[in-house]
Symmetry: C2
Subunit: 110 residues, 2 copies
C-alpha cells in the first residue's frame, strides 16, 4: 500500500511539473513577476504556443497568477502564487541534479 | 549569467527525468532490483513500448543497469546504478509535492 501511495504521489506531481518546460518557467518566475515576452527571452527554445499552454496549465493549477493591467498596450504579468512558491524546493534539487548531470559529460546542450 | 546557468541545469535535468514515467520507474527501482514484468505490475498504466524506451534511456544515461541472466527462460533484471541512486533525493521532494497537490483536491486520479 505504501508503495502504491508513494508512486501515485510521484505520478501526480509529474503530471503537473513533468514535461520539458513547466519547471523551467517556474524557475524564471522565482526571480520576479514577468511578462510573456520576458519569459520568451528567458527560454528562447520554447514556442509561443507551448509557453501559452504551460502558463495556462500552471494558472489553472493555482501555481501562477495572471494579472492584466488596463494600459495601452495591455500589460499582462505572470507571477507565482504562494502555492507556486512551494515549487522552489523541487527546483533546487532538480537544479542540483542538472548540474551534476552536466558535469558528467562535456556535450551538454545548454 | 547565473540565471542562464541555473535555468540550463533545470532543462538538463528535465530532459532526463521529465516526462510522465521516468521518475516513477526509478522510484520503484529504489525498492529493489526488478524484472520488466514487475515494473509493468507496479505501473499498470504504462505501455510496454514506453517502459522499454524509458528503461533504455535510463540505461544509456548510466542511471539503470540491465543484467541478463543466462537461464531458461532468460531472466533480465533492472537495478539502479550508484549514479541512479542519486535520484532518490529528487524523488523525495517530488513525492512530497505530489502528496501536497493531491491534498488540495479530492478528484485525484490515482
Amino acid at each position: 500500500m505504501k508503495n502504491v501511495v508513494s508512486g501515485c504521489s510521484v505520478e501526480e506531481a509529474m503530471n503537473m511539473i513533468g514535461g520539458r518546460w513547466r519547471l523551467l518557467i517556474v524557475s524564471y518566475l522565482l526571480e520576479k513577476p514577468k511578462r510573456f515576452s520576458e519569459l520568451r527571452r528567458d527560454i528562447p527554445a520554447i514556442s509561443q504556443r507551448m509557453l501559452t499552454m504551460d502558463l495556462r496549465a500552471l494558472e489553472e493549477a493555482g501555481l501562477v497568477q495572471r494579472t492584466v493591467f488596463a494600459e495601452v498596450p495591455v500589460k499582462v504579468i505572470y507571477n507565482l502564487t504562494p502555492d507556486g512558491l512551494r515549487l522552489e524546493k523541487v527546483i533546487n534539487v532538480v537544479q542540483e541534479l542538472g548540474l551534476w548531470l552536466k558535469g558528467r559529460h562535456v556535450d551538454a546542450e545548454c
